[in-house]
Subunit: 267 residues, 2 copies
């Protein structure tokens, strides 16, 4: 394993989370390894960050069951920026913590930029990664999101109602204020570490989202929104794989153009 990039700029580290097993997916055929247009989902995700001139280092958080397969993919890619594969924890938050602990051990500076990405979002674009890097020059936390085209309801089971009873709507936020979070979610290293440290002392907190840890535990910290993309989908169900096959040719074209531009020294 190599040490972190020691160039003059601060490190810009992509943490790719590939530790989960979607409950709605066949466990014997993990969604990270499902092939989209001939390429495993996780390879699409790794490629996006390895290709980006903005990213200096990539760290993979991997489920033990897919470790060997992902290691082989990385070897075949010849992806020098990938600094390591570490085992994930039981929950998403455990996996993020494991990655942050690893980076601390590697001696990463506190102002390093950290982009945490779902390994099952294969089509993150070069433009999104650039915008994430830029956003962390203006605030210590940022997250990729798209405006919700659906109205969002806040609903919960009625107090005292039996299990299985219909949830009741409590609020309908103004649609123009509702966004669907995607990834990467982006932080200066010190910011996300101290948010997780504060959250650790609250045993009732089980975050499903890294941005929420900052919003809830560092309320003074401004979290900006980076415009995502409708193509930046999460592969959760079999139906998503069919949709991904529709997006793949477009994603391939976008990446080819970005690579040609980078080869000419531009972005």
């Amino acid at each position: 394993m190599k040490t972190m990039s020691d160039s003059q700029q601060v490190p810009v580290v992509a943490i790719i989370l590939a530790a989960g097993f979607g409950m709605r997916f066949d466990p014997s055929d993990p969604k990270q390894l499902v092939s989209i247009a001939g390429k495993p989902v996780i390879e699409w995700s790794i490629e996006a960050f390895v290709d980006s001139p903005r990213i200096t280092d990539v760290l993979l958080v991997v489920n033990p069951k897919v470790y060997a397969a992902v290691e082989r993919i990385v070897d075949d890619m010849g992806a020098d920026k990938v600094r390591g594969l570490i085992p994930g924890g039981e929950t998403r938050a455990d996996s993020t913590r494991a990655a942050l602990g690893f980076l601390a051990q590697m001696g990463i500076p506190g102002d390093a930029k950290i982009l945490i990405h779902d390994g099952v979002r294969p089509f993150v674009t070069p433009r999104i990664i650039q915008d994430c890097d830029d956003a962390l020059n203006a605030s210590n936390a940022a997250t990729v999101a798209v405006p919700s085209t659906d109205t969002i309801l806040i609903a919960a089971p009625q107090d005292g109602a039996g299990a299985g009873s219909a949830p009741v709507v409590h609020a309908v936020p103004e649609r123009s204020t509702t966004w669907r979070a995607q990834t990467p979610q982006c932080f200066r290293f010190d910011t996300i570490r101290s948010a997780y440290e504060r959250a650790a002392s609250d045993e009732n907190f089980h975050p499903t989202d890294d941005t929420r840890v900052v919003v809830d535990y560092l309320p003074g910290e401004k979290v900006t929104v980076v415009q995502g993309s409708d193509d930046n989908i999460k592969i959760t169900t079999r139906a998503d794989v069919d949709v991904a096959e529709l997006i793949a040719p477009r994603a391939r074209r976008v990446r080819t153009v970005a690579r040609m531009r980078a080869a000419r020294g531009g972005e």
Copy 2:
């Protein structure tokens, strides 16, 4: 035009809104009329309600630009339950108000069940329509929704920040409480009418969603959630049309089975 069904049961009226022109769609090729698996979007929607044994009457709210085309579709379908095509208003709320006014003029009873559906959600299922009808026996308002698999962010432009500046995240609701609203949205006639009457006196209120009118203006009224379906998508962009083509064969099978079951007198 026929009068409303005068059977013993209360009328169960589907209002199908087909008055909008998606701004992200080609105005010369309205999304209501785009063909999915050889059938216009609006015909898929009308068929779902006409086929349902639960629905007694269907009312279409139609943009003048597509009026003739939709009328021809209805004629060709031989859809006797369709009681009328009325022109829509400028906004979604205007269209809903126009439909409610029409129903009042027709002398519909206050306890009639009203299912308001987006005409561009072609794949509403027989099961969803049944569940909507049933839900209105337990509460005066209900809405179809699916749990959000994405984390939802509440974000808005920063106070005092210039136009075009990035929105800032204000809150991240617990994911298990966030739902993506679909349609139908369902109400007893008296309930939705009085909600709209109260909303009318608030000139700052521009609802994009009928459920919100009830939640905000009749806070004592319980609004329950009816489980939707991932197939019950809204056609908003060209990419949605490609996804719809993937869903269409499944939707066709589901409807065929429901028709056979209805022919045998069951559901």
